[in-house]
């Protein structure tokens, strides 16, 4: 049996908007094992981002348990959450979020800047390796405005990988890309997954879900479907 790196139990997240309370998550439970490639599907507003933010230790649940890699995240302080994000999680955003006028290499080094146990030399080595992994070995000195959208997202993925995280979380990571580039990025994620990375990928596009090996469907803050994709497609087939 595979190691479970995430266990979520009856997770709830309420937002107060004025006097009203929005229940973005109404009791979600599931587990993630090491090496899985999960897509979280659902219509806009169904709670996908809310869930992913909690998984990524950017946010804390109102109620329920979240255990990540043996740590009960719900009980951690803000600074400890920052530590979790720094060392156990890699985040990929829809809008890349790269630092402008900053080389790809330095963008990728960023998470390690917040980890003083990594020496400058090692930081550079790890960042170069991460950029090689995403196929940008020849673009290390390029600033974001000198890169295509797909290349920029690759830099962002390299940044998510540089700290050797327990899992990579992606929120609509292909949302800003054309279909050809989307395929390239999905191929990259599949590649990473084959190398053992656990991936949780949020999307509202059905086709993308087909590249993962498990799909969780949310509707109005609840899981309505959670199934394995037995006939998982490989992009390069």
């Amino acid at each position: 049996m595979k190691n479970e790196i995430i266990e979520i139990l009856d997770l709830k997240r309420n937002f107060s908007v004025g006097i009203e309370t929005v229940q973005a998550l109404k009791g979600v439970s599931f587990t993630v094992s090491e090496g899985e490639f999960i897509t979280i599907m659902g219509a806009s507003g169904s709670g996908k981002s809310t869930l992913l933010n909690i998984l990524g230790a950017l946010d804390r649940p109102t109620e329920g348990n979240y255990v990540l890699d043996g740590t009960n995240v719900g009980t951690l302080s803000k600074d400890q959450l920052a530590g979790i994000r720094n060392q156990k999680i890699g985040f990929v955003f829809q809008s890349f979020n790269l630092l402008a006028r900053t080389s790809a290499l330095e963008n990728v080094e960023l998470p390690l800047m917040y980890n003083s146990s990594v020496s400058p030399r090692k930081r550079k080595n790890l960042a170069e390796k991460a950029l090689e992994t995403v196929g940008l070995a020849d673009r290390m000195d390029h600033a974001p405005n000198q890169l295509s959208g797909g290349q920029q997202q690759r830099v962002a993925i390299a940044r998510a990988l540089v700290n050797d995280p327990v899992m990579v979380l992606a929120d609509e990571a292909t949302g800003n890309l054309d279909s050809k580039t989307t395929m390239d990025i999905m191929a990259l994620f599949q590649d990473l997954n084959r190398q053992g990375k656990t991936i949780v990928f949020v999307t509202h596009e059905h086709e993308i879900a087909e590249y993962s090996n498990r799909t969780i469907v949310l509707r109005d803050g609840e899981i309505v479907k959670d199934h394995a994709n037995l006939g998982r497609r490989a992009v390069l087939d």
């Binding site: 402008a100 917040y114 003083s116």
Partner: protein, 426 residues
């Protein structure tokens, strides 16, 4: 149940152990972030640069004028003492000093006998009027003094000789001319010595010319003067027996106060004053004058410093202003930094560091510019400037404090952002 990944690599990456950002990392982050927007960084610095430049320059001018005043007063004789008739009482009705006749040659006698710390002594009577030599004439003052007067006033004879006690005794019609008088009476003659000048119809033989002293602190021409024996002026020109003032030298600057006391006692005795009677004269020392003017120019320094300090304050507010704009502009950057593991205090430190680098960097540039400006003014405009180490240290310290103080609120704002909202910020 959840089991941890059995990887050794994870054990060492226990996130609950305290990570601490080294100052080096923080500086790197701050410097890189600033380098990303050099123009903004420079404009933020500009306020501080201008502030510090003006602080350094203003303090240099203030300090310079203070020292030059002190120097000029000292050049008139740092241990000089002057006695004038009349009390120094303020608020009361004071008579015109020159019409008072309370000082006499007996007083000179008394001082020379009792004031042991006085090394040189000279009476003084002076009269203003036209001095004539041939076709030329010039309005000036003729001062009747004793032969010690030169020593007391630190004056020198550049040509000819000073009159002797013999000339004083016989009320000799001899005189020494200041440079200004020489230039105006004898523009074409090589040497004024040996010539004759007329003052109030009395002919004076010129026996010497005084070395030039230039203007004094108050802008008076110290060379526009004629010296003659006081007896000559008393008898032949003014027809008086009293003297108008007394000039004396203390043995040195240290005993100036004692000498002043001795003179006071000698004069009180000589004037037969009872214990409850006020002095009918007043003794002033050059030391007091130096103190008075020093405190005036210290006020000036303070005032200039305050004006410059305000511009530094404005520079600091400029930093705060631009930092606030910068925090808003960089909201997504802040969100991202938090998402990849930056803690609130890391973000705070980064922005604080940026503010301090801007202010201290601006301060260093400002200090350099201030030095250049101050010494430039000193050399080109022949303006007395003195840059003190304190003013440099003060500016530097103020800059660091300004950076921390005005950087604090924007930095706090940045650190308090919610990462999710910050990342979503458009």
């Amino acid at each position: 149940m959840v089991k941890t990944r059995g990887l050794a690599s994870l054990q060492k990456k226990n996130p609950t152990t305290h990570r601490h950002m080294t100052v080096l990392n923080l500086s790197k982050i701050a410097v890189k972030a600033m380098g990303r927007n050099k123009m903004r960084t420079f404009l933020t610095m500009l306020g501080i640069i201008i502030g510090v430049t003006s602080v350094i320059t203003m303090l240099a001018i203030g300090e310079g004028s203070k020292e030059s005043i002190q120097e000029q007063i000292s050049s008139m004789g740092a241990n000089m003492l002057m006695v004038h008739p009349g009390s120094d009482e303020r608020g009361g009705v004071r008579m015109d000093r020159s019409s008072m006749q309370s000082l006499t040659l007996d007083d000179i006698e008394a001082i020379s006998r009792y004031a042991t710390h006085v090394s040189a002594l000279s009476p003084m009577v002076s009269s203003g009027g036209q001095v004539i030599a041939g076709a030329n004439n010039w309005p000036t003052t003729i001062q009747g003094v004793g032969k010690d007067f030169l020593e007391i006033r630190k004056m020198e004879v550049s040509e000819g000789v000073m009159f002797t006690d013999y000339e004083v005794k016989r009320a000799g019609k001899v005189c020494l001319l200041g440079q200004t008088v020489v230039e105006n009476l004898f523009p074409d003659i090589e040497s004024a010595v040996g010539q004759t000048v007329r003052f109030k119809n009395i002919p004076f033989k010129v026996i010497g010319v005084l070395a030039s002293k230039g203007q004094n602190t108050f802008g008076q021409d110290q060379d526009d003067v004629i010296l003659a024996p006081y007896t000559t002026i008393q008898k032949r020109i003014m027809a008086i027996t009293h003297i108008q003032s007394v000039f004396a030298s203390a043995e040195n600057e240290m005993v100036s106060e004692q000498a002043e006391e001795e003179i006071t006692l000698a004069l009180r005795a000589s004037h037969d004053l009872d214990d409850d009677e006020e002095d009918d004269f007043n003794v002033r020392s050059q030391q007091e004058l130096i103190k008075t003017f020093s405190s005036t120019s210290e006020m000036l320094t303070l005032l200039l410093g305050a004006i410059a300090g305000i511009s530094l304050l404005v520079g600091g507010i400029g930093i705060m202003n631009i930092m606030f704009v910068s925090v808003t502009e960089r909201t997504r950057e802040i969100g991202l930094r938090m998402a990849v593991g930056g803690r609130g205090r890391d973000i705070l430190s980064q922005f604080l560091m940026e503010a301090v680098i801007v202010s201290v960097g601006g301060g260093l540039i400002g200090i350099s510019l201030g030095l250049i400006l101050a010494y430039g003014m000193g050399n080109l405009l022949v303006w007395p400037v003195v840059v003190t180490n304190q003013s440099i240290m003060l500016s530097f310290l103020v800059c660091a404090v300004v950076g921390i103080f005005f950087g604090w609120y924007p930095a706090r704002k940045a650190a308090g952002l919610d990462p999710i909202e910050a990342l979503r910020y458009e």
